[in-house]
């Protein structure tokens, strides 16, 4: 296990470096920089832009800017936001709890939905239940999150007035009930969309496992059906699904971009949207590197977990 972790970490370093260089180049290739937005103010003259470009070091060669950024970043200095001048690390950390809260709840809810749905539709293949689950899953997969979110807002906030349409707390509120009420809709959107995909993967994986000789053997030995399904079949079937869940989770933690922006959820996703519109390079780089790191790390975790679930898989 130690060797496995060591090797995977060693592999991750050049990968992350490569990603950072690519992302840096791509961001700077997009038209407009952090100063472009200043131009909408009629009192900002182009000479002001030139002055600021120089002051912020944006007139230096790109490679030089990258090296400066990289050198500081690996030492833990994430720089300052081009937008509000505050430390990037502070801006990211203050948004992290909101994202963890939303994504944590959504992932748990999605797993709770996907597990029974996936297992039941695999076991009762072709049944009415299977078709119903399939229809729901297709709806979840094909619904754009922003549209689904707005629909929920229309129903539960505008028509019924049951839930707040967006935000995380009401000022002066912020107790548990207030938090939950704000959390319901965005978490429901994320959970439904994720559960839809995961339940399909689990169904496929489960069907393949149920065809394996060891499952037949277990049943022939008289192991109770419930035990065959949940212990002998589900455990190995979960392995590949877990890898997908982990990668999805990593993507979500780095920002449920659409859902957060529809529900004005103050997490990393809305920070990303805002920073992208303002071409806030330092914040964007930090967020994208965090996302890359999360994906690499959770992939390693998923691989390790896979071996624990399925004895046939060895760590290589």
């Amino acid at each position: 296990m130690t060797r496995f972790l060591f090797r995977r970490t060693a592999q991750a370093v050049p990968l992350l470096l490569l990603i950072s260089a690519l992302v840096f180049a791509l961001l700077h290739a997009a038209p407009g920089g952090p100063l472009a937005i200043y131009l909408s103010n009629p009192n900002v003259r182009p000479q002001d832009i030139e002055r600021l470009r120089h002051a912020l070091g944006l007139d230096r060669p790109l490679a030089e800017q990258y090296w400066a950024w990289l050198g500081a970043f690996v030492r833990g200095d994430w720089g300052y936001s081009y937008s509000d001048g505050r430390a990037v690390a502070a801006r990211v950390w203050e948004r992290l709890p909101a994202t963890l809260e939303l994504v944590g709840v959504a992932i748990v809810a999605a797993v709770v939905l996907a597990l029974p749905a996936g297992v039941a539709s695999a076991v009762k293949r072709g049944s009415r239940l299977d078709r119903l689950v399939a229809a729901l899953a297709m709806t979840g997969i094909s619904l754009p999150a922003f549209w689904f979110g707005l629909l929920l807002q229309m129903i539960f906030a505008v028509l019924l007035g049951w839930l707040p349409s967006s935000g995380r707390t009401v000022p002066g509120g912020g107790d548990l009930i207030d938090h939950l009420r704000h959390l319901v809709m965005p978490a429901a959107v994320l959970a439904f969309v994720q559960a839809a995909g995961w339940s399909r993967y689990l169904r496929g994986s489960m069907i393949a496992t149920l065809r394996q000789p060891f499952v037949t053997a277990a049943a022939a030995r008289g192991v109770p059906r419930r035990r065959v399904l949940l212990r002998h079949a589900l455990r190995p079937a979960l392995g590949p699904v877990l890898a997908i869940v982990m990668v999805d989770a990593a993507l979500l933690v780095s920002g449920a971009v659409v859902t957060e922006s529809v529900f004005a959820w103050p997490g990393l996703g809305s920070l990303f949207t805002e920073s992208l519109a303002r071409r806030d390079y330092t914040v964007l780089m930090a967020l994208l590197m965090l996302a890359s790191f999360a994906i690499v790390a959770l992939n390693v975790v998923a691989d390790a977990a896979h071996t624990l679930l399925d004895a046939r898989v060895a760590l290589t």
């Binding site: 103010n41 009192n43 003259r45 832009i49 030139e50 948004r95 349409s165 000022p171 920070l271």
Partner: protein
């Protein structure tokens, strides 16, 4: 499964139980909630590059612009002019402006607001160690004298017509910022010390800013009536409109026109229309697409567009057709200019005269080159996208091929700044001082200005620079009237419509006036009251 179902039912019941609580609180003098389209970058008015709605409630200018775009005194006792002796033109070509400050105005911490703060502000902005958004005007100031705590005499090296809004963003408090790095003074930038009716009570990142009225506002204790104003950050337009409908927010400034029908007639809500100091138009980049350099082509394109029809159909009659860069709200506006009614026959004749003959596929050609260009505009504005399509369709009718391209806002800014586009559909928010130089003077193409038509006329350029050096209002008006006439005659660009601002406010809100400029709707927030 059953347990999960039971838990869901329980949760739903619990939520339904709190149903009555959630439908938002009605607007009152205790609390007004604003659905705001973005989180500010900084509350330092000199550093921010987005609208200053929140800042105007906290930090007051020496002057401001009112609902008719007149410059009115705020912390200054009066607006200095030639007539009242506040402005003196010097023999060396420079000018001196004497600002008299109101007595009894204090910063929120009780420190008196004095001319030393004005001087400190000029010095800070001109210092290389601070990076404000704009140094416009400040860079022409040679020195500031402070003969007494309530008088600041500002010496300009040259005549600067918009001197009266030089301090519209107020002043930086010397006693807080002296000797500090203003760019990194986050205590000030996140919670600025001002003299205004409100102070920042709380800024929750990504969520909201809560303003609380100050205890002893200098105008006297009955003001302001509204105790708290909450700015909720809701960048998604659909969500913002939903919040307005559900009563969770009370005010949304600049409602997009395509949302007008959704919000008009909502109970308890009033939609105020304010003609803006902005105009939507098509910029014709002569450098990038040389056929635009021919005035006949520009006139033909203008004649080919039925702007009255756009206003009636796409805009639901919410905005009037515009005919030039200076809007009716400005004192410099004139309607004595040539206009281009919808006349496709005339457009065809003009194009024929210019040598552009209809080719095989219906597109005009000259010397083997087709009259075809790309029109760029910003994505995400439903109305603008429709107008762009209408323009393409109507120009096609006279044999001009137009391809519409959408870009995000930042990309659009970059493209025009580099002059890398052929035609662009967009609006300029005009400065409240009617300066046209940066938009039309021949030498003010990027990067030294906003003349992105790349239009060049010696007569117009001379007129505009002369106007900038003219303090006398009537004389300047004559110069600008002549300039507007030239711009219209030459069809430098295609003006489409005036940008009318739609603001959704509680019907019970008194003394709301709106504002045509970037000063924003909160300019007179100290007078607001719910009744």
């Amino acid at each position: 499964m059953r347990r999960a179902a039971a838990a869901t039912v329980l949760l739903a019941t619990a939520l339904a139980g709190c149903a009555r609580r959630s439908a938002g609180v009605p607007p009152s003098n205790d609390l007004l909630i604003v659905g705001y389209d973005r989180e500010p970058d900084t509350l330092n008015r000199f550093s921010t590059h987005i609208l200053e709605d929140i800042q105007t409630c906290v930090v007051e200018g020496l002057t401001t612009t009112d609902e008719k775009m007149n410059v009115v005194p705020l912390v200054a006792e009066r607006v200095p002019t030639l007539e009242n002796g506040g402005v003196v033109l010097r023999a060396d070509g420079g000018m001196d402006v004497a600002w008299k400050l109101r007595s009894g105005v204090t910063w929120h911490d009780g420190t008196p607001f004095t001319s030393a703060d004005v001087k400190f502000t000029v010095d800070a902005i001109n210092s290389p160690s601070y990076n404000p958004e704009s140094t416009d005007g400040f860079d022409r100031i040679s020195a500031v004298d402070t003969p007494d705590p309530l008088t600041a005499i500002v010496h300009y090296r040259e005549i600067y017509a918009p001197y009266d809004i030089q301090f519209i963003r107020g002043a930086l408090p010397r006693h807080v910022l002296e000797g500090r790095d203003v760019d990194r003074a986050q205590d000030y930038n996140r919670n600025p010390l001002g003299t205004g009716p409100y102070r920042v009570a709380e800024w929750k990142a990504g969520e909201y800013i809560r303003l609380e009225r100050v205890a002893h506002y200098w105008r006297g204790d009955p003001m302001p009536a509204v105790k708290q104003i909450l700015f909720m950050f809701v960048p998604n337009t659909n969500t913002r409109i939903n919040q307005l409908k559900s009563g969770e927010v009370h005010i949304v400034a600049q409602v997009p026109w395509d949302k007008y029908k959704e919000v008009v007639g909502l109970p308890g809500l009033a939609i105020r229309r304010t003609p803006g100091n902005a105009y939507e138009h098509v910029t014709l980049n002569e450098r990038q697409f040389p056929p635009f350099a021919d005035v006949r082509v520009r006139r033909a394109l203008t004649h080919a567009l039925d702007r009255e029809l756009y206003v009636k159909t796409i805009l639901d009659g919410l905005a009037p057709v515009a005919h030039g860069p200076i809007q009716p709200v400005s004192w410099a506006y004139t309607d004595k200019i040539v206009r281009y009614p919808f006349d496709p026959a005339r457009a065809r004749t003009l194009l024929d005269e210019a040598g552009w003959r209809v080719g095989a596929n219906g597109i005009r050609e000259r010397d083997g080159r087709a009259l075809a260009f790309t029109l760029i505009t910003q994505a995400g504005y439903a109305i603008r996208e429709s107008v762009a399509q209408a323009i393409a369709r109507q120009l096609r009718d006279v044999g001009v091929d137009v391809k519409v391209e959408l870009h995000d806002g930042t990309a659009i800014s970059a493209l025009w700044f580099e002059g890398k586009f052929e035609a662009m559909l967009h609006w300029w928010q005009m400065p409240s001082d009617p300066e046209l130089t940066t938009f039309f003077a021949a030498d003010r193409t990027p990067p030294s200005g906003r003349n992105i038509n790349y239009f060049s006329s010696a007569e117009l350029t001379t007129l505009l620079y002369e106007s900038d050096r003219t303090i006398d209002r009537e004389a300047r008006k004559r110069l600008l009237a002549r300039a507007q006439a030239i711009i219209a005659d030459q069809a430098v660009e295609i003006p489409l419509y005036n940008v009318v601002k739609l603001d959704a406010i509680p019907a019970s809100l008194q003394h709301f006036t709106g504002n045509p400029t970037n000063t924003g709707i909160f300019w007179n927030v100290h007078e607001w009251e719910i009744k």
